[in-house]
């Protein structure tokens, strides 16, 4: 099962990569001073006191960008097997994929014209 033996390496790597920040932060925890102080623990606001609760005007535009990203992400996911198998596929695979890309380009142009990609 050579496929899974590759992933043995990844598994060991994940374990070591997860332990590494703990080790680094542990070293820091041992070495650093610990003198908490209410003024030091204040939220940073350029030297002033914070006004009101921490609440930022969350613009809907952030969400729209994430939505458009999801759609194009899934499009790219569909295109990966096509790209890998492309050399073995006959010519009309090009046109099929062109159709796929074309439909999604229509979507991109629509979003563009409707101002969904504009940052107001």
């Amino acid at each position: 099962m050579t496929l899974l033996s590759d992933y043995n390496f990844i598994g060991v790597f994940v374990v070591v990569a997860v332990i590494f920040p703990f080790v680094a932060l542990g070293m820091a925890w041992l070495l650093r001073p610990k003198k908490p102080n209410p003024v030091k623990s204040d939220t940073y606001e350029c030297g002033l006191q914070t006004f009101g609760d921490t609440w930022v005007q969350f613009r809907a535009q952030y969400y729209i960008y994430a939505l458009v990203f999801v759609v194009f992400d899934i499009e790219a996911v569909f295109l990966f097997p096509w790209a890998v198998a492309y050399n073995k596929l006959p010519l009309w695979a090009l046109f099929e994929a062109a159709l796929f890309l074309g439909i999604l380009t229509v979507g991109l142009v629509y979003a563009w014209r409707k101002g969904a990609l504009r940052w107001q």
Partner: protein
């Protein structure tokens, strides 16, 4: 002589033989060999931080005609060690009302994907951590975990600036992810495999000559993914005061920084693998395979030097210009490039023919894109509102 030339592969085989001769069962041999390989790669990655931090400061300083750090050892080259000692001994301040669990979780999450990238990078003909069938897709998938870490850091700090910056950074990262993936798709079209070793071996002509537009788009997107200048509006010290990292001090802040530099190094190697021919160098790799890690390292250093050059030269871009540029210019350009690549691969099966056709196509595409942008910018310049923008915006 053969032992010296094939040094790394011979060393691996000798070590495996040594372990089995101690009487260990085969799974233990594999485990120990894996563990050592992982340790070497992780140390390699962290060494990158030690090398590239002072290099960045010296290079940018020289470009700005000043000496840069020069106290620690001659030429200031051990500056990173001094920085590390400083970070280790700084007090860790957790702001009041911050979510402690999230505040502590973010530095952990941010370092893991940066290190995990090193598992699939090819250092030589037989030298790779794990030659996955989905190597390149693994790189992309692991890179998206960084986005989550930014959100956790922003939310967990209980700070308006932190949150605002986290939103914007996430949007920037998402916007530049798509052109990057589309350029990778174009490369995969030409090679027919997602294995990183396969991509290196398929490059008889380095791909940045075959498809310079894709290489350039990938470089810009990788810069944006790493939050480097000129797109580091959201974490620059003079802007939103280090953005989502503002409430972190000491080693946790160092974790973000280590992650950024490790990411930069990994991006350099990925760019070298995809577009610069990886561990190949005009036949040197056949003569002396022992030198291939050095070749990869030098190519990655060249890419990082380019990134530093960008940082020293260009002013920062505004956030709306940034995302507009990604969605309205890079994504359509990458899509057209992808289609062009698909057409070229089907027109001819000869490698050199494909290379020439794709290069010609890319030049035409670049000229057309610049022409369109120029015309749109001129139309806007003549508009009553005098706005100079980078992207085509209607």
């Amino acid at each position: 002589m053969d032992f010296i030339l094939n040094f790394w592969v011979e060393l691996g085989a000798w070590f495996g033989g040594l372990l089995s001769s101690w009487g260990l069962p085969p799974w233990a041999v594999d485990l120990i060999a894996d563990f050592l390989g992982v340790l070497i790669l992780v140390v390699c990655g962290v060494m990158a931080v030690l090398i590239f931090t002072p290099m960045e400061r010296k290079v940018i300083a020289r470009m700005q005609d000043r000496p840069g750090p020069n106290r620690v050892w001659p030429y200031g080259l051990l500056q990173a060690i001094a920085d590390a000692i400083k970070m280790l001994t700084k007090e860790d301040i957790i702001p009041t009302n911050a979510d402690r669990a999230l505040h502590m979780l973010a530095p952990l999450i941010v370092a893991i994907p940066a290190l995990l990238l090193f598992a699939v990078l090819p250092w030589g003909p037989g030298l790779i951590g794990a030659n996955l069938n989905v190597g390149i897709l693994f790189i992309v998938a692991v890179g998206t975990i960084h986005v989550l870490a930014v959100l956790v850091a922003g939310w967990g700090s209980n700070n308006k600036f932190s949150l605002l910056s986290a939103f914007r950074v996430v949007n920037q990262l998402l916007a530049y992810e798509i052109p990057m993936v589309l350029c990778i798709l174009t490369v995969v079209l030409f090679t027919g495999t997602m294995k990183t070793q396969g991509i290196v071996e398929a490059q008889t002509v380095p791909y940045f000559i075959v498809m310079p537009v894709a290489a350039l788009i990938f470089l810009i997107s990788a810069l944006a993914e790493a939050n480097r200048s000129p797109v580091d509006l959201l974490e620059a010290d003079s802007e939103i005061v280090a953005g989502y990292m503002v409430e972190y001090s000491g080693m946790k802040f160092a974790m973000f920084f280590i992650a950024e530099y490790v990411n930069m190094f990994a991006t350099g190697i990925i760019f070298a693998t995809l577009f610069l021919g990886g561990w190949k160098f005009f036949g040197l790799e056949d003569v002396a395979p022992v030198l291939t890690p050095v070749i990869v390292f030098l190519k990655a250093t060249f890419v990082i030097f380019l990134m530093l050059w960008f940082r020293a030269t260009y002013p920062r871009m505004r956030f709306d210009h940034l995302v507009g540029f990604a969605w309205k210019f890079l994504v359509p350009l990458a899509l057209v490039n992808l289609f062009l690549g698909a057409a070229v691969v089907k027109i001819t099966a000869n490698v050199w023919g494909q290379a020439v056709l794709m290069l010609v196509g890319n030049i035409v595409l670049a000229a057309a894109a610049l022409f369109i942008v120029n015309r749109a910018a001129r139309k806007l310049k003549d508009a009553p509102a005098l706005k100079r923008i980078v992207a085509v915006e209607r």
